[in-house]
């Protein structure tokens, strides 16, 4: 990507320009993260959900089930619900009597 056969002065100028673009890019990203994105938090549809995620400390960016604790809770609940399904039948107990 770097053009070849630049003379010394042009090379230095190119390098300064490249670092300048790097600085601008990182500044844009930082401004977005620290200032712009938090402004979206106040939107009416967004605020309840984002507050909830923050309060519950849910890792909404997780990419697999093992990255997130809520999945473990969900799984153990579902598994034990299926395995130990409440099956009490009051009719049966009265029959025994």
């Amino acid at each position: 990507m770097k053009p070849k056969n630049l003379n010394g002065r042009n090379r230095v100028l190119k390098k300064i320009k490249d670092y300048f673009y790097l600085l601008v890019s990182m500044s844009v990203v930082t401004i977005f993260v620290l200032f712009l994105a938090p402004c979206m938090d106040d939107a009416p549809y967004v605020k309840p959900l984002t507050n909830f995620i923050d309060d519950e400390e849910i890792n909404a960016g997780a990419i697999y089930y093992s990255d997130i604790e809520e999945f473990s809770i969900a799984e153990i609940n579902m598994k034990n619900t299926i395995d130990y399904l409440p099956c009490f039948n009051p009719g049966k107990k009265e029959e025994k009597k």
């Binding site: 670092y19 959900l49 909404a60 697999y64 473990s72 969900a74 034990n80 619900t81 130990y84």
Partner: protein
Amino acid sequence: MTEENESQNLDDQVVVDCARSKVSDLWKLEDCWSIWLGFLILIVGLIIYLPQGSEEINKKITESNYILQKESERAPFKTTAWYSALDKKAKIKATSTEVGKEIVKLTNRPKKWSSNPLDAFFMGDEEAELLKQSAGKKYLEAKDRESKALELAKLAEDKAAAFNFTNEELNLKAVTAIDNWRKAVKNTSVEKKKAGVKPFNQIPYLILSMIIMAIIFGIGWKIMGHPFLKFVLGFSFVFLIAVLAYTFASNSTMSHYGIGYPGWAILFGLIISNTIGTPKWVKPAVQTEYFIKTGLVLLGAEILFGKILSIGIPGIFVAWIVTPIVLLTTFWFGQKIIKIPSKTLNITISADMSVCGVSAAIATAAACRAKKEELTLAVGMSLIFTSIMMIIMPAFIKSVGIPFILGGAWMGGTIDATGAVAAAGAFLSDRALYVAATIKMIQNVLIGVVAFCVALYWVAKVDRKQGQKVSALEIWYRFPKFVLGFIVASIIFSLIYQFLGNDMAYVVIDHGAIRGFSKIFRGWFFCLAFVSIGLATDFRELTSYFKGGKPLILYICGQTFNLILTLIMAYIMFYIVFPGITASI
């Protein structure tokens, strides 16, 4: 075998290269090294955590199961004793032992921060004490509310029991009181975590992690015939960018929008490579395939086939019938209707959207040897649409009045990212979370089958010349070998899981070898891979894939079909065919 020569020039472009079958391949090829390194980490994890499954733990599990059985026969709903037994069982984890805690501490990543990024790496004693005091007060209040809610729940339960659970009104009151108690329990658990805050300094641990990973990958790199020191030097830079990616992902705002480390890793890599250019001394460590393949072998161990039965048949239908239909239909649509030029881009986006987001995109892209730009595009679109769906779907479900269990199933089957599913599901209700999370987890398991089938299809049909018949041996030569490591890891861990039984496996495998060890490394390896993708990608080449907006059209059309079909199937399964299971959730 011609693929290897041709792929030599495409090495920098494709996510995976292919292997040949010679004995020396076992120590010379990347595919094989990814398997050895992956298996090494998995074996170490098993050695550390399997012995944690003691007789004492077995006894505690048996006691809890006895109570669960007894209570399930005593009442037509889940009683306070039922839930208490479940809570006791859920707390038994190998990661809670001294060894487990130490490993998690040593391999910890940047922590959450909001306005000062340094908070991600360091918290002093004073600050920790201040946070502990304010959180401690809230924890005590939450605990008090929990005790009071438990008293009320027990009272309501006893009243229902006095009538032998024949009075529907009393039963309903008891269920409501127990639900309120469960909410209070959850709240206490959240406050307890916040009150347990301790001072930390992540820098030494991050340096240690970097050294360990540099050695792990460096040794393999050296034996493959490449310079060790040049790799390790470049690796330090790649690792630093990975730390930066994790840091931005742990920002509280980015975290609650579900913008995880994959997006940041690619972004920072792209910024560097398209401004100052990737430094020459870094290039030896820009090894996307090496990192991704090793990460995928570790991911294989998390694909546990027993989890398919977690939610019973309704979940299997929603996750394993709907998902393949959507995947194949979207792929066909992309090929025949939209006419996307690249098959690999098509299948990567289709898998990403229909299965489970970034993890599916990684596995599929590697299996079909997609280009790095294609994986980048799929991941980028997934992250954007995930954030949108995570916000819109719960709001829509609430406003239209869709039952929360149906809503949870719908979100679980359609929102790409696993974390976003948990957030959206939990936002609706606990029951919605349980259903959403379980369905997404079953889809996560589907990745193994998808990757294997895609690899086989590509090798047998797509990559052959027209008119050429591909023999079984040729398929073996061309088949990406790391996919075998991925499948073997899945099979072995699934068998270990079945052998131990669900309860003990939850303790030593789920919350031991996997969450306490292999998944930590897997996360880092994928992050390193995404950084490498960014560092090796020209932004102009990336934008050329957007031409005509075809990938976006494919994603939107496929996701629309996914939303409709999942909702229909979820309704049929949870409300018409298996209403009993739905009522008991």
